[in-house]
């Protein structure tokens, strides 16, 4: 797909707006439909589109797997961190009231940070899964018992990714 100029130009044009839309869904979730789960998937979709049109290697340069895997844990850590923070400030686990001077303000901060953690985990998990699936290769010494001889897995993976 890399040699198709239409796909290439459209992907490069759409990449930033998709991420912008994902961020809008992420941080506007208090007022409109949306939130961390949806935003995470949308942001991951931008990267997946990039990886499908260009190649898996270029996607790995854009989003190194090591960082993506770290962000998976980071999101869950941010969420739990909010809980621990409210815990340390003298309230129950995940009671956002104490995060700011006024309870309502604290709830706003808490929800925003927690949703950010959810978005981070979802986006990086989906991106990591895509990279693992697209780059999957059965080890040479462990060939599957039955495979149709007409299919060349590596060739088709490369063609698609």
């Amino acid at each position: 797909m890399k040699n198709n100029p239409i796909l290439r130009v459209v992907t490069k044009t759409l990449f930033a707006p998709i991420i912008l839309y994902g961020l809008y869904v992420q941080f506007h979730g208090d007022f409109g439909p949306g939130g961390g789960f949806q935003a995470g998937v949308i942001i991951a979709a931008a990267f997946i589109l990039y990886g499908m049109v260009f190649s898996l290697e270029e996607l790995k340069q854009l989003a190194p797997p090591r960082i993506v895997h770290a962000l998976m844990a980071m999101g869950a850590l941010i969420y739990t961190g909010v809980g621990v923070a409210s815990f340390l400030l003298g309230a129950e686990f995940l009671n956002y009231d104490v995060l700011a001077k006024y309870p309502a303000k604290g709830q706003h901060y808490g929800i925003l940070i927690v949703e950010f953690g959810v978005g981070l985990t979802v986006a990086s998990t989906i991106l990591g899964l895509f990279m693992a699936f697209a780059g999957f290769d059965i080890p040479k010494n462990k060939k599957p018992p039955k495979r149709s001889p007409s299919v060349k897995p590596n060739a088709s993976v490369k063609k698609r990714s």
Binding site: G35, V41, L56, G110, I111, E115, T121, L129, F130, N154
Partner: protein, 191 residues
Amino acid sequence: MSTLLINISLVSFMLVIALMITFSHRLFAIIVMSGAYSLISAAMFVNLDAVDVAFTEAAVGAGFSTVLFLAAMAWLPAEEKRDKALVILPLIVCFAAGSLLMWAVAYLPALGDPSSVVHQHVAPRYLAESYDILHIPNVVTTVLASYRGFDTLGETIVVFTAGLGVLLILTGKTGRVQNDKANNDIRDEDE
């Protein structure tokens, strides 16, 4: 009235796609059609005013699952293996389960019925007090992140753990030939 018409057309679309999936033998067509099926169910969720669910269904069901299936399809033959034998028992089970479900549908509360059980528990309290306490217009977000923050933490951990498990299965080091440089995979960061 217009909602009813939209619902009828969407459901008939879904029925047609489901039948096409059943009778198709080409994997590529089946994957693409199940993506279309998800997209139409997303449209149904919009019609039911569940925009958040529609978002998720369109992005995950129609987008991401389709991509994953396509990536997995590279390892499979393009055509489904045809089975000539007539399958009586699965047919009976399908019809029995289907008629059981249709029978159960008759006992469900009407769509959007405010007096049904699910709308009597904590939902009225959330709807009444959440804006006054939290000043956040979207009740879905307040319930998800604040009232039910603990559940959402669990969901996030589930997503993380599931992703971790799949990554370990797909990119684990066991049985890998170390000096094989021919293929580009996640080995880079393993080393």
